[in-house]
Symmetry: C2
Subunit: 246 residues, 2 copies
Amino acid sequence: MPESHPAPQRFPVTVDVVALTVRDGELRVLLITRLIEPFRGKLALPGGFVLAGEDLQEAAVRELAEETGVEHLPGHLEQLGSYGPKGRDPRGDVLTVAHLLLAPDFPVLAAGSDAEHAAWYPVREVQGGALELAFDHQRILDDALERAKSKLEYSPLGAAFCGEEFTIAQLRAVYEAVWGTRLDPRNFHRKATGTPGFLEDTGRMTTGDAGRPAALFRLAPEARPTAGHPTRAVLNPPLMRPAVPK
Amino acid sequence: MPESHPAPQRFPVTVDVVALTVRDGELRVLLITRLIEPFRGKLALPGGFVLAGEDLQEAAVRELAEETGVEHLPGHLEQLGSYGPKGRDPRGDVLTVAHLLLAPDFPVLAAGSDAEHAAWYPVREVQGGALELAFDHQRILDDALERAKSKLEYSPLGAAFCGEEFTIAQLRAVYEAVWGTRLDPRNFHRKATGTPGFLEDTGRMTTGDAGRPAALFRLAPEARPTAGHPTRAVLNPPLMRPAVPK
DNA sequence: CGGGATTATTGTCAACGTGACGATAATTTC
DNA sequence: GAAATTATCGTCACGTTGACAATAATCCCG
């Protein structure tokens, strides 16, 4: 891999995290308000420098914990891709490794005065151009959204947006929010419950909501992430998003 | 993204390339023989350090060109993922960004005495444990193979292994080699030619081979990579690999 | 307390995609 | 020319999907 003696170029390396969740049937992304230049006052993805002796995923988890005040991150974290190092930071070449977190809605620290304030923003508003992101974070977000959409098709990771137990309707709301489409409740129910290796009936039911009580499900054992293997399970056949999202 | 003043840790960054091709109906990967420690004499993925002012993809193309003697790389290059930096190089923390090249079979430079010798090795032999790879390159190769398999299902990139024009049988050979399965020629023909936005009939035919002449196809315009967009086209519905590859 | 609204769940049906495999066509090889 | 070889078209049964009807089980409200 190295080919000769001259000391190799070294780069600062950051991790950025696109944390997505669904709240009120709406897809949201975790953003921080930058307190320092460049892009002071602008919104940006949470992230920060990788430290010596750290692996990428470790760094992502640490940064996210620091900036949200959350100890144990819920949901599913995976690497999205790397960007740079050329010309993406006005201060110089910085390589960033973007990550994607699919998580149930969790509260973020109400920031103190000197901390960067993190909050969930509707993706709709960011995409609509109402909000502007720092660096190349808009592009990273776009890639993350596409990845998330595709993940729902081919993996059981839609459930990463839900808690431990959830109803089919809650799961459907996730798909609708991420894909930006409406799905037929009856067909979705058939597909979700009928796909082997996806869901497991808990036997319990919801209560107190409007309408008929719904059965509570959890991820099937084979779709659950384990220590060594952070979820490689595949939905077969896939649950394809409708061709024309509208 | 940065949070305070202390100078951020800097890391050497390399790019590695998993270049795959199909020759004689067999999937092969481009490997070089290391001439220096560590892992001297072992096989490794081609790659090298990212230089100042370079982007990742640029670096990957440059390194591949240097080590194969090939000017313009054929095929499809995409980023696979990043590994490290912790504990993957005995000399210290090195971050590597792995790339995946799907290419038609092209000749590599017969290396001079002092150059690292690059050659196409059957993936089968590497997976069989007959050959051992340096660093964490075995893991990277595994990830690359999985990515390649999945690419064939959901994208028109199988054609990246073929030349400009190809027959359905040649394309099928690619799928068979990458997936490690046999496919029914009649069903594959129906699916390949019947999928909208995938193939385009050139009107020309093969000649000279054994058996009935075959029609020559090329990638449909909408599946062809363009300058700005390096192929985002998707096969819908997907061409799924058989459930039990054997 | 009962009817209406609301949500969940079970079915039905036609259209479509897929796997298995038969049949035919157009070449090369001997 | 006959046999072998490869390409291509067709057929059929089966499973999946989208569209949509029908029923079930709750809450809400007067």
